[in-house]
């Protein structure tokens, strides 16, 4: 079944190659993995969507604390349900690939961290971010006081224009001082 499903038209393949940071092999692999996620009846639809739950069952995403955010950010679904088409999936892999530029990576990272989608990382976003990073159960969560202190530390450090939130350029500034980001913001199939 993998052989029939992973047939990609040649022109499509070259287009994908041109528009993403992925190589031919990676695209074919991605297509194979994607078609494995599709259910039987979905295969005949021209642009099938994989629901978020199935995407999250991929081992590469399964234990990622930001998995839902990743799906939401890359999903083009009208329903806002985080479901992905193949092209969305490629987009995701492209942004997380080794060869993606720092700008692309930081842009998507910012959107992943921007939990309320308002275009800026405010206190609420940072709190959610910290909770995602440290674990969300009650015993692993930081105390309110610690959280407050932490967030104020972060803002003090990264909020250059002192407006109480971290916007994209400030975020990129922080990231530019952390060269590990490029290598750690990576998901490879």
């Amino acid at each position: 079944m993998g052989t029939t499903a992973s047939q990609l038209r040649k022109d499509l393949l070259s287009e994908y190659q041109e528009l993403t940071f992925l190589t031919k092999q990676e695209i074919i692999l991605a297509h194979k993995r994607f078609s494995e996620l599709l259910s039987k009846e979905d295969r005949n639809i021209p642009t099938p969507r994989v629901p978020m739950e199935k995407v999250l069952s991929l081992p590469e995403l399964k234990s990622n604390p930001f998995r839902k955010r990743i799906c939401h950010v890359f999903s083009t679904s009208d329903m806002k349900d985080g479901s992905l088409t193949f092209e969305d999936f490629l987009d995701l892999l492209s942004a997380f690939s080794d060869s993606a530029t720092l700008e692309i990576k930081s842009h998507y990272a910012f959107r992943i961290f921007d939990f309320d989608d308002d275009g800026t990382l405010d206190g609420g976003d940072l709190e959610k971010l910290v909770n995602c990073l440290t674990g969300e159960t009650d015993d692993t969560r930081l105390t309110t006081e610690e959280m407050r202190q932490l967030i104020s530390n972060i803002l003090e450090e990264s909020d250059i224009d002192k407006d109480g939130t971290v916007n994209l350029s400030e975020f990129q500034h922080v990231i530019s001082r952390s060269p590990d980001f490029v290598s750690s913001f990576k998901i490879v199939l």
């Binding site: 910012f110 800026t120 994209l168």
Partner: protein
Amino acid sequence: MSHYNNTGGYNNTAYHDSDTLEIDRSPSRKSQSQSHHSNPHGNPYPRDDGAAGERGRSDLLQLPGGVQSSYDDAQERVPWGGWQEGSWRGRDSIPMGLLPPRSESPRWQQHDLNHSGYQIDQATHYDTMPPVRLPSATSGHVSMRFRGSRKMSLFPVGEAALGNLGLSEDDIRNEMENEEHNLVQELVAMSTRDRIKAIRDLPMSFDDKKHIRGQVLALKSFKKSRQLNCFSDCSTTVSLAFRRCGANMTLARQTLELWRGTMKEVEGKFGTGVLSYFKFLKWLLMFNIFSFLVNFGFITIPQLIYHPTPDIPAGVSFRGLEILTGAGYFSHTVMYYGGYSNKTQGTGGWPEYNMQLAYFFTIAAYMVLCGAALIYSMASSFRKKYVLADSGLGGAWQLLCSWDFSVTNEKAVRQRKNNLRIQLKESLSEKVQVALLPLTERLKHYGVFLGTWLLSTGMALGCGASVYFLCQYDTSRTRKSADKASGSLLEEAATLLLPFVVSLINLVVPLFYSLFKKIEHYSNPRMQVYAIIVRNVILKMSILAILCYYWMKDVANTFSCWESIVGQALYRLVIMDFLFVMLGSFFGEFLSNVIGTKCIQSLGVPEFDVARNVLDLIYAQTLAWIGIYFSPLLPVIQIIKFFILFYLKKVSLTQNCQPPRRAGRAAQMQTIFIAILFFPSFVGALSMVAYTVWTLPPSDKCGPFRGLNTTFSAIQIWMDDLNGVDAFQWTVWIYQHVIRSEIFYFLVSLIILVFIYIFRQITQGRQLLIILLRQQIVNEGKDKAFLLEKLQTLQKSKQNKQKKKKQVRKRQENESSTGMQQALIARQRLEQENGDSSSSFGVPMPSGHSVSTTSSAMMQAMLARQYAEDQDVASYRGVPFPADQTPASSSALIQAMQARQRAESQNEDEFYRAPVQSQNPVNALPSAMIQVMQARQRAESEQEEDEFYRAPIHSEHPVSSTSSAMIQVMQARQRAEEEESECYRAPASSQHPDASGTGSALIQAMLARQQVEEEYGDRY
């Protein structure tokens, strides 16, 4: 500005859009943009004051951006501003509805806001704008998309500060088309390669990129179809072929990539920090494969072709121990320097091949290439990855960019979260107790530092010294055994003593060093890592330096074929090092794992010490570099060693270790490792080899350079040969004037120094610039905050006025009435001065007796009233009105009049005065008087010209003032009565004839009344 958001009631999205416009919200955009647009801005019209205030604020914020924004923004700003005004006016729709639209109505807004440069010139938008502007979902997303694209790569213009502030659908569509058009234009202008890159770099979703690409290609093909020629066709084909080729290369590289799966597994469990060790290992492996290929291809293969079998003396056979010692059987093979001949090969049909030159140039080329590769990777690593340690850098990067998305193992993720939490808590508590330690504590710390550094350096030196003495012993022993010429196994095994001791030192002393961290207290964990690295490097390098010294000083003068002896020694060191690394990972990792899990639980599972392991690799590589001259095939051993080491470490890691607790700065560490690999390691090896080649006499009996004074004289001989050949004169010239001339090196180093100085100056200038730019960002942030504050207060005052409209109205009413009363009192006083105390109210007839004072009284009254009105004006304008109450001259009067007119021209004024009149139909005479005054006021305001010449009349012709005053009173009164109601008119008019003394006054009164009636007729 969080306080600010609170007052706004929700996040001020519009504000941040000025900076974060570039955010592409496309993926969840359809639904999201809908919600977004409809949320604060979509339906602005009937909003309460909070939202209006919000909008107003965001509105002002656009101004700084607007100044520098691009031309298309400017185009959009105009209708948008008009719309904005509409929303404001919508807020005032209650009073506005009661009044007929007046042409000068926006004037008050200008008064309010033109200090901020806010220009409204299209009041008509109020009427033309539909009440609800909901940008459709699609247009919203498209505009976002292009806005995003613009900043990211292509458009150098200043960022538009438009935001999604509820632009009309048309505006957004226009903007979108504009931007798309610009984008496509720019892309079309690019070369194919750049275009593909540019499109790929756009932070958009796949669909959008596809769309853009389609458009670009369409436009491109359209253009091309018009100017199709052979050349462009050819170039396209060629570039296409090149691109295909490039893509295939990448593909091939990826397919051939070694250990891809293993790397992914390691990364998934241990993160990028540990992975960097394996990457480093792989990189070194590549170096060695390259050096093996070079050496084998250019030195060994020719040697093997001409002398397929090594000339091994009789009685020497392969015994197995050679694998460890490298001596015996191996010492006569091509493994070592001694195995190569010095002859120019190629007699009898074979092409000529000068082994001397081949040997020399291969080694030299390899060293140069290695150096170039190292410098290149070091420089690029410094540029990309090394960030100067920011002292203030604490939690932010940990949170914002430390998460390793590549970690996929469930357990590892949990552990990572745990570590991160502990780290965060630690850093928080550290921040709390940031207070300086007492002096004694600090002294103690310094003492400990001094002690540990002295101890470690002393140990390194001691190790070096002991190695040197061991070497001396080794020499004497070898000499003895050489005399006896017996090659027993025990003798051969004895040669392993020196490498064994060296490797033991390399294994044990670093472990000892790592104990230091128990007593040292570095404020920064990174400092601790650096300290350990520096100590280890000092140790390893001092040992190697001692060994090199020994080889060049003692061995070179003692043994007949000393290069091979050195090669053997290096071989043994490499092999021993390998064994000890294996032992180290067994004892260091496996045993401590067993102890940590079984015996002493508190120790826990060991961490993989990246720094120590990388330093081991660097040490091994240094040995290989030194050995490249003495043992050209040493890279083979190195390759095998690294290959095995990779799997060994991988197994040891996955079985015994846990991920590192601290999310260290792996990239930075990697840069440092490359730097260490370059500076002491490669440079040391290079200088060692160069010294050997340039100054040491090669051995007489063996090797390619036998019989020469130095290795380098091979070149001299070659040049002498070439001197006779005309075709190679240039080579000789280069040799004599470049290679051998001091002037050349002197000039080159001088130029390099100059360049270094210039670049240093440039760097410093840039640093200054960075500081300035940073300051500028901060200042801009402050400006923003200031403007927000200003706008907020402005908005608040407006809110107050609206919310408390009735209260304000009453207050103003009171003020005006007190003003009136003041006026009345002033007048009264004057009248009383005249002696007519009886005519206190209503009847101004007796004032006719006064000749000069009446007019002044009038003036005073007017002034007083104006003052009252000014107060009104000032009270709602929020700024002190410049007019004051002191002047008594006619010019003052005029001024006051003008002020009043201005005040009256404001619709607010009118609108609250009207209710006053309707609300207070008081019959009492004082109130009637007030009304008279008010009415006259209005009359005056409506006949501005009249007033202007009437006022001078008052002052210049005091004689006639009686009748004119009378007339005025009459007019005013009549008008006031009319305003009140019809029923009051009759008594009022009947009263007046009694009071009037002159017929002309009566007539004038009648005329005035008619006039007033006409006016009112016009109005209604």
